[in-house]
């Protein structure tokens, strides 16, 4: 058995090595797959802050993923058609600049998480699960029935958005952008976990009365975590939309929420690197099993069932035999 630190290093190094090899052998599709892994891992890192650290079983993180995606789609579509979003009272034009899009994606999904969280966190347990799912579904139907941005068909963007100083059309360069965001997200997740806030959130997950008794408001702790979590998942949505140069209501669907949760679980709940391990495993399975059978979701389902019933620490847990990162 190996230590979790070593495994974490191996995961990062493995992803980079795969990409390096693909770059040298001119296999852009593999780089695109690795980019997808990095982006989905960012989404998982976001969810893991709510789920693993806060114990908030959100089945509605597709809402934030989709908002991030549509932030990209709406801004870029206005930029490519040269029609401003708004002319009065202030002129707001579209943009093809990734940093601006990211900022908008972060803010919009944080705002949505604030509203959804403020309502959903009034409840707990199974109500919370159902309500977060329902709110994501609300965005889904709204996106379908709002014709201005493609409705059911979604929005296509002709050229990937730009990042200052880089050529994002080059697969390796876009991978590095996404990998950079992943490293930042992991850093945020790690700092948050070891900070006083993380300590309190972790305590609140185990006992609400305990954190109240030391003067902390559990609702506020959870809402803060939920907003940070939603914002990071929203950023992942913007990256994902840029990878595909396409957004559609599917990003809001309940399957998306479920899959983000599956990354976290396959990797190991509450572990910093769990989402990366889970996303990598998911894409690997999709790629390998998807080639063997059109019905590869059956195998995914069976694997997930096996992990839930028999291997609760997920991939990271199995490989490190349940040792936690604190040791």
């Amino acid at each position: 058995m190996i230590s979790e630190k070593l495994l974490n290093g191996a995961l990062i190094a493995g992803l980079l090595l795969v990409v390096l090899h693909a770059h040298l052998t001119d296999a852009p599709f593999t780089i695109t797959l690795a980019t997808k892994v990095a982006i989905l891992a960012v989404a998982g890192v976001g969810l893991n802050i709510a789920l693993g650290l806060g114990g908030l079983v959100s089945l509605g993180h597709a809402a934030f993923f989709g908002i991030g995606g549509y932030a990209m789609g709406i801004l870029a579509s206005h930029a490519q058609s040269y029609v401003p979003l708004m002319q009065s009272p202030v002129l707001i034009e579209g943009t093809k600049s990734m940093p601006v899009i990211w900022l908008v994606a972060l803010l919009a999904s944080a705002l949505a998480a604030l509203l959804i969280g403020a309502l959903s966190l009034r409840t707990s347990g199974v109500y919370f699960i159902m309500i977060t799912l329902a709110f994501a579904q609300m965005f889904y139907y709204f996106a379908i029935s709002w014709p201005a941005y493609g409705g059911e068909d979604g929005l296509s963007i002709y050229v990937r958005n730009g990042f200052p100083g880089l050529n994002t059309l080059d697969p390796i360069q876009y991978f590095l952008v996404c990998f950079g965001v992943l490293v930042l997200a992991l850093l945020v997740s790690f700092r948050l976990r070891t900070s006083p806030f993380g300590l309190a959130l972790n305590a609140a997950r185990q006992s609400t009365a305990r954190v109240q008794a030391i003067g902390q408001n559990p609702f506020r702790l959870r809402l803060t975590a939920f907003v940070i979590s939603g914002a990071i998942t929203g950023l992942a949505g913007a990256l994902f939309a840029d990878l595909n140069r396409f957004v559609s209501p599917t990003m809001f669907s309940w399957q998306t929420s479920g899959e983000i949760m599956v990354f976290v679980i396959l990797g190991g709940v509450g572990r910093v690197m769990g989402p990366l391990a889970g996303a990598a495993l998911f894409i690997l399975l999709e790629h390998l099993l998807g080639g063997v059978s059109d019905y590869w979701h059956i195998y995914l389902g069976a694997l997930l069932l096996g992990v839930v019933l028999f291997a609760r620490g997920g991939l990271v847990g199995v490989l490190t035999e349940g040792r936690s990162g604190d040791d």
């Binding site: 070891t194 008794a213 030391i214 003067g215």
Partner: protein, 249 residues
Amino acid sequence: MTDVILRTEGMSKSFGAVMASEDVSLDLRAGEIHAIIGPNGAGKSTLIGQICGAIEPDRGRVVLNGADVTELPVHARAQLGLARTFQISTLAMEDSVLEHVLLGVLSTDQPRLGLWRGAKSYRSAEDRARTVLERVGLSAVASRRVAKLSHAQRRQLDVAIALTLRPKALVMDEPMAGLGTDGSRMMTELLGRLRQEAPILLVEHDMDAVFALADRISVLVYGKIIASGSVDQIRSNADVREAYLGDLL
């Protein structure tokens, strides 16, 4: 009376037809231990819940250091220095002793907790946390997980966490429960030392501890305070004997 730290005024609470608290007025003065005793079902837990803010009274007020805190939630009262211990452990099993105490210190020093710097890099907070552990006698097990503590050690940890709040008043819910003879003696000594730091409202079943520690005793029966006075007055009170102490004495 300027030395009253905590008081309730005419506090009442009913659950359906059951009066869990009926017009309860009591106070806690600087430097004292005020024990609340009463048979099971007398409404002691409801009383603590109302004082600490977990249960909303139907009528009456709770006043801490002259300020009406009746409308404040649990955490806001804790920030004002109303510390409590629990009868049923609320400790987080996965976390270490030091983490529990450190969190209390960090939260007291700066209620808006930091989101970036590592909790263990707050040097002065850790120093104070270790001082508190020293005082309750848990220094040796600071890095142990709560799951591996003995029952008595968990009780001590509960007291340590309360102390991190720099409490103005301590509300303790049966701190002796489940402790053996040695454990009870240790806890009795600890509480005796603490009373100078913060007055203690002590809800307790263990009469030896109550008679050893209490400056005053109030007797709660069916949600009502039927008697209040010094240890000797309570021991000799006929109503109390009949209602509760009976064959205990």
